[in-house]
Amino acid sequence: MEILVASAIAVLTTCGVYLVLRRRTFPVILGISLLSYAVNIFLFSTGRLVQHLPPILIKHGHTSYTDPLPQALVLTAIVISFGMTALVVMIALGAFLSSDEDEIDMKDTPESGEAQ
């Protein structure tokens, strides 16, 4: 099972990084989303892969649970990554609407220094 999860993380990272290196805003946003998945699964997996033992305390029965801490971290990370995606989307959209251009590389030359 470990090899499956690790390879899934690898594939998600590869796809994410490749898209992040594209020149248009939209693929980059998709790439960031894929990278977020990869990072979230990676963080989650540091608690090890456990089946059928959710961290919900029960009175009777088994007494071992999966690690709840990475889950709490990842839960907020998912919500925050939504905020980040939304913000980046809005910036990308504003830039495209103002300039009719969705390339992310700036083309203009560096501004001239202050006049003495």
Binding site: A6, P68, I78
Partner: protein
């Protein structure tokens, strides 16, 4: 009055003049003057203690771990300097009131002046050297504002910039020096450092600390080779020059040297660096001053020269020289401030300060003449004025000083400097006031009103009185200040008097006076020589240096920061990979410690879906809509993965976030191109694929290594599992961690989310207010619209679903503490319930029925969370400590009430508000007049339009 208050008063008072300037210039001046007077009185209340030999302390701990505290102390040296700063500051405030014209923004002027004053007082009262550094930098900044006060003058701006560059650079060196000093002494408190002389001078870092500190002090006190900024700072209004260059700013460097004298002085390095620099500065400054025609430039270079003199005295390292330095600091402050003010008067009344255009003012401005003459003669060192006394003591000291095995070099150079000093002082009198009256003054010269001449007159009377009755008037002050400079050692014998008998100093002094008169007599010939000789122009060199640095940084910035974001991303990834590879090849990786768990068929199916969908996103990323659909599959698989591995909360969160993210991206895609053109070459794509593949291998390998390894430390999760129910009252450990154990993190995160949403809203406002709006209004959809914008079935279903969805949200919220769910997930579910209405029934229809602003929802969420956290304070517990209890109501099962639930309510509101605000903002782009049918559903129970009138139609 507390010392802290004395240092803070000017800063507090700095708010008054800009406010009161509306009530007139007098009100502004009064507020500044009274603030200063109050601080001065506060200082003087401590004078008796200080004169009796005590040191006044005020301590406030600030960041003890960093050695930062706000400790202030007042000893003789501090009293002397603070007295000069506040006393002369008061005179300057009066003088400036009458000097500045109506066009000058006087409120601003006094605000800057008071800030500067506060910073100076802070320097001289600080006990902690880090605190001293803060005030030191504040003087650089506020003096920048003062020197560049006449913003319309290019000289003013350039002079201010130069002063800031030079003193700021020196300040940086000094920070390093003082930090080293603090490290050596083991404390940043001056009162401790000053007791560590042996430790400091024996340290191998002594020389480094000394040189760095001296660079800072020399830059501030305009010592060679940093002296060039001071004359250019003369572009400031004269009151500023009089203040900064007589008693305050340039004396800060001297103050620091005097302050650290007990621990730094006395070594060979100190002697040769400080005394030599002072000597060179003194002679050079005096020589240049003789050939300056601008009154203020002459005074500027004479200031440089006198600062050199005091530096040299401190450099001698003998106790008696230190006493002389202290005495000369007082004398120089009095006569130089008076001279600057009289120069200002001359400028003000005659319209020029060019000596070549002046002369013969003796009869026209008798009061000014008297003041200028007395102050100049004091500067020249003529008895019985105060300048003479300290100069005699200085010459006496110099006569005994051996420099580089020679008894003669130093005295000879000092006498030359003194001769130039006498010469320019005499020239100031002779060429400005003596000689025939002229008829071509730019204005009709006359003595000014008392507002302008009283402040310098007060100082001139001090010049005379200190000269005549020195030991009575300043004797005790010199004694306590000198005692503070030389530290614990016993004060040497000295006497402040005019007649010391026929000493070498007297002969040297007499020689210098005669030589000065001779130089004045030969001034015309010397000036021709001076003008013929080539000499380096400091400003040109400085500008060239700044130019080189600025071009260099321009080039570096242009190369490194060229705006190619893809390149940044590539460099970042490659660099991270290189670091990872380095760690991999140099570190050791333990063998797999835990066995692999079995793979079942379901997991394989999920893995295939995940991998294929992620790959498809890349393969089809040029078709953006398709890529969006496929990435939805990826998100779904991620959510199932969480569920599969015992994380129901994560699965719920992931799936609901997935829904809103896809909707958000769809909305955005509406306005963006639907396809991505091929922009990169095949090579580049191959390169990116290699980078991405390596990154994937690295992260995957790391994940695998972690999964097969065991914990090196026991996990803190055990604590959470053990205490979740006992301490937090909930059985869903993840939720209890979020709202209880790590509640503060969650509090921060909902704030961040709220900020992101508000930023999105603000961006939308800004974009829609620009010319983009017209573009959006006239936009033609780039593909055909659906014939039915609001399909009936969808409208019906979503409206029916609305209460159910809300109820699910509430249910998830309430069960969150004990079962999977909670504020985050409930917030997302409720947000989706609302978004469904926007999607199905249209923006206008929903917006008309939605009456509360989403900002308010976010804000109330954060406030509820904060208030819950603060509630703990009332029980004397730290912020966000939770409490819970069980309630039994008749007819119901027992149920739990926890403050954590209230906190979770805040989370719920903030999350739902943020999601809705973000989506609503995006949806507003789509608004076009006339696109919304009045009713998205034909059968609307609320519809209010009149039924079709068939009879009317029939008639037509």
């Amino acid at each position: 009055m507390s010392l802290i208050l004395i240092a803070l008063l000017p800063f507090l008072g700095a708010f008054l003049p800009p406010l009161l300037i509306r009530a007139g210039r007098n009100a502004a001046a009064w507020s500044a003057g009274l603030t200063t007077l109050l601080a001065l009185v506060g200082l003087l209340t401590h004078a008796p203690e200080v004169f009796s030999g005590q040191v006044v302390h005020t301590r406030i701990e600030w960041v003890p771990g960093l050695g930062l505290n706000a400790n202030f102390f007042l000893d003789g040296l501090g009293l002397l300097f603070a007295g000069l700063i506040l006393g002369i500051g008061l005179l300057i405030i009066v003088y400036a009131r009458f000097y500045l014209s109506r066009q000058d923004p006087m409120g601003q002027f006094y605000a800057y002046l008071l800030m500067f004053q506060g910073a100076m007082v802070g320097i001289v009262l600080s006990d902690n050297i880090l605190l001293l550094l803060v005030f030191w930098e504040l003087t650089s900044l506020s003096s920048f504002l003062l020197i560049g006060f006449w913003k319309h003058l290019p000289e003013g701006r350039q002079g201010a910039r130069m002063a800031l560059t030079v003193t700021g650079m020196g300040g940086l060196a000094m920070i390093a020096g003082l930090l080293i000093l603090g490290q050596i002494a083991g404390s940043y408190d001056l009162s401790v450092i000053l007791t560590q002389k042996d430790v400091i001078q024996a340290s191998p870092h002594y020389l480094a600390a000394l040189i760095l500190i001296l660079i800072g002090a020399f830059a501030k006190s305009a010592q060679f080779p940093f002296h060039f900024w001071l004359p250019h700072a003369m572009a400031a209004p004269t009151p500023v020059s009089a203040y900064l260059h007589s008693a305050t700013m340039v004396k800060a460097g001297l103050f620091l040297m005097a302050r650290l004298w007990p621990v730094l002085a006395g070594t060979e390095a100190w002697f040769y660096i400080v005394a030599t620099t002072g000597l060179v500065t003194m002679v050079l400054g005096a020589k240049i001053a003789l050939f300056k025609d601008d009154l203020k430039a002459l005074l500027a270079f004479s200031t440089v020269s006198h600062l050199g003199l005091i530096t040299m005295l401190l450099g001698f390292g003998t106790k008696i020289a230190a006493v002389t330095a202290v005495f000369h600091i007082i004398n120089h402050a009095t006569f130089k401030a008076a001279l600057f003010m009289t120069a200002g008067i001359i400028d003000h009344e005659t319209g020029t300060r060019d000596i070549k255009r002046l002369g013969g003012l003796r009869k026209l401005m008798p009061v000014t003449f008297a003041m200028a003459a007395l102050a100049s003669l004091s500067m020249a060192g003529i008895p019985p004025l105060n300048g003479f006394l300290s100069k005699e003591m200085m010459l006496e000291e110099a006569a005994h000083t051996v420099w580089w095995h020679s008894h003669y070099i130093l005295p000879a150079l000092v006498v030359i400097g003194a001769s130039f000093s006498a010469a320019y002082s005499f020239r100031l009198i002779a060429h400005t006031f003596l000689g025939p009256e002229r008829s071509d003054y730019p204005a009709h010269p006359h003595d000014p009103g008392p507002g302008l001449w009283l402040p310098p007159a007060l100082l001139v009377s001090l010049v005379v009185l200190i000269g005549l009755f020195s030991s009575v008037i300043v004797g005790p002050l010199v004694a306590i200040a000198s005692q503070a400079v030389i530290g614990d050692a016993k004060l040497p014998y000295y006497s402040l008097k005019i007649w010391h008998g026929f000493t070498p100093a007297l002969y040297m002094s007499a020689f210098a006076t005669v030589a000065g008169l001779f130089l004045l007599w030969q001034h015309k010939a010397l000036e021709r020589l001076w003008n013929a000789a080539p000499r380096p122009e400091a400003k040109t060199i400085f500008d060239a240096g700044v130019g080189v640095v600025s071009r260099l940084s321009d080039r570096i910035t242009a190369t490194l920061h060229d705006g190619a974001l893809t390149r940044y991303a590539a460099i970042f990834t490659v660099f991270t990979l290189v670091m990872g590879l380095y760690a991999y090849f140099t570190g050791t990786l333990p063998a797999a410690q835990s066995a692999m768990t079995d793979i079942d068929a379901l997991a394989v199916v999920g893995w295939v879906c995940l991998v294929v969908s992620a790959s498809c996103v890349v393969v089809f990323h040029r078709n953006r809509l398709l890529a969006l659909v496929v990435i939805g599959v990826t998100g779904l698989m991620v959510s199932l993965l969480f569920n599969y591995f015992s994380a129901p909360d994560l699965a719920l969160t992931q799936i609901s976030v997935e829904v809103v993210t896809i909707i958000l991206l769809l909305l955005a895609l509406n306005f963006m191109p639907k396809t991505t053109p091929v922009a990169s070459t095949l090579q580049r794509r191959a390169r990116d694929l290699v980078i991405a593949g390596t990154a994937g291998l690295g992260v995957g390998g790391l994940a695998y290594a972690i999964l097969r390894g065991t914990f090196s430390q026991p996990s803190i999760s055990e604590f959470h599992l053990a205490n979740s129910y006992k301490g937090g009252g909930g059985t869903n450990v993840v939720n209890v961690i979020l709202v209880d154990f790590r509640g503060f993190d969650t509090f921060g995160e909902i704030i961040v989310l709220g900020i992101a949403a508000v930023v999105i809203f603000a961006l939308t406002e800004a974009i829609l207010a620009s010319n983009v709006r017209a573009k959006l209004l006239n936009r033609k959809p780039d593909r055909q619209r659906a014939g039915d914008a609001h399909p009936l079935m969808m409208v019906v279903v979503t409206r029916v679903m609305m209460p159910i969805a809300l109820m699910v949200g509430v249910y998830i919220f309430f069960r969150g503490h004990n079962l999977p769910g909670g504020g985050f997930i409930a917030g997302l579910v409720v947000a989706i319930a609302f978004v469904m209405q926007y999607m199905a029934s249209g923006f206008a229809w929903t917006a008309a029925r939605q009456t509360f602003p989403y900002h308010g929802v976010i804000g109330s969420g954060v406030l509820i969370a904060a208030a819950t956290g603060m509630g703990a304070w009332f029980n004397d517990l730290p912020f966000l400590t939770s409490a819970f209890g069980y309630v039994y109501l008749p007819g119901l099962d027992k149920f739990e009430l926890a403050t954590a639930a209230l906190f979770d309510l805040g989370v719920f509101l903030a999350v739902s508000g943020a999601v809705l605000l973000a989506l609503e903002s995006l949806a507003r782009y789509a608004w076009q007049p006339g696109i919304e049918p009045e009713h998205p559903m034909d059968i609307n129970p609320e519809r209010d339009d009149p039924p079709l009138d068939n009879t009317e139609k029939a008639e037509v």
